[in-house]
Subunit: 199 residues, 2 copies
DNA sequence: CCAAACAGAATGGACGCTCGTTTTTTGATG
DNA sequence: CATCAAAAAACGAGCGTCCATTCTGTTTGG
């Protein structure tokens, strides 16, 4: 029986906890459930995470880190495409991430935002990671502009922010309405950008 | 709600509960606090709301109703303005609503989204009210298009959705980054719409 | 054989909710 | 207008449950 490393054990607990947090939310996720799903005991879990709060923070860190990495990669992809296409690709990837990881990533995102409103440490974790995402969107906007798909005078920070801001909207609409797809959501950006008649 | 006769009492309780929910979130808001802040007793509170869950649903209903009404009015305002200006006005009004009501409306919105992921009744409440908002944005987009500020072929549903989708982004960015204003947020839309050089 | 890891029952506190009691309101009566 | 009894509303201490965390053995690997 090979000894399992500390990191593996911690990951095992985190996996269980993330699945639970995604389906029930942070507060309804009990330590007893984490213990049951992880297959360890209460004592063991507390050997790796000193408290539920620490576990929640670790979940937030891991989840937002994965999301940030996913989006980074896409926004950096060459060649530059129109903004709406880039957005659609990111939204697609966000849903793909859910399948890949086996839990509802958008639901976890909402949990994270909620937790960020009352735990400053979680807010900082999200802030740090999402800053990466922000820069990625800025760079994307810059490359798109340089390709002539935006006005040469366009403020790439503002454009990047606007595109990134479509993401929470997608997550919320999906939760509340349930009828929105990456394509339908991104098409709004394309429609907004259609040329009005010269005036 | 059993008591239709004395809805002032119910409003009194709701006021207290909403203030608490906005500052601490639904799960950290205890009934003991609601009792204390409302100035009534536990028994009295339970005479108006059969359970904490029912109280939470009432908070969601009231909060989203107010937000929807506020946005409705603005999106309907004449005369039509460019999309970015309309968005900025709505974001301004959202912050104004917080001052007016005395609690953090964006924070309450996040709580509502979080609750919607696990209470189908809250999800339905949000869905119904936000459908009104969605229609208001569609109408806004339509009028803006008819004024020549959008392409005549623009899909007003898609444009309305995109503008409305900027709202959760604003709320989340404000919570996580803290550095975004109605103006900076809305400017992204304006920048996105600037004419690229003809090609 | 020892130290580190683990198990799981036990603990203590928090919180939603109830229920017997007290206060207030109502309205009928002289 | 005063009185009073019955009904309605409010009170608030306490109950039961749930849940994070601990702690005392027990197991396991070296």
């Amino acid at each position: 029986m090979p000894k399992v490393s500390d990191e593996h054990r911690a990951a095992q607990i985190l996996d269980a906890a993330m699945r639970l947090a995604a389906t029930e939310g942070f507060h309804r996720m009990t330590m007893a459930e984490v213990v049951a799903v992880s297959g360890l005991s209460a004592g063991a879990v507390y050997g790796y995470f000193r408290s539920k709060q620490e576990l929640v923070r670790a979940i937030a860190q891991r989840a937002v880190g994965r999301i940030a990495t996913t989006i980074d990669a896409l926004a950096d992809a060459e060649p530059p495409v129109p903004p709406a296409e880039g957005l659609e690709a990111v939204l697609d990837r966000l849903l793909g991430l859910s399948d890949e990881l086996g839990y509802d990533v958008p639901a976890l995102a909402i949990q994270g935002w909620s937790e960020a409103t009352r735990d400053p440490e979680v807010r900082e974790i999200l802030g740090t990671e999402l800053l990466r995402v922000r820069r990625a969107w800025r760079d994307f906007a810059e490359r798109v502009r340089d390709r002539g798909l935006l006005s040469p005078e366009a403020d790439v920070d503002a454009v990047g922010n606007a595109l990134m801001a479509m993401l929470p909207g997608f997550i919320v609409f999906r939760t509340v309405f349930g009828d929105v797809t990456p394509r339908s959501h991104a098409s709004g950006v394309a429609e907004l950008m259609r040329q009005p008649p010269s005036r």
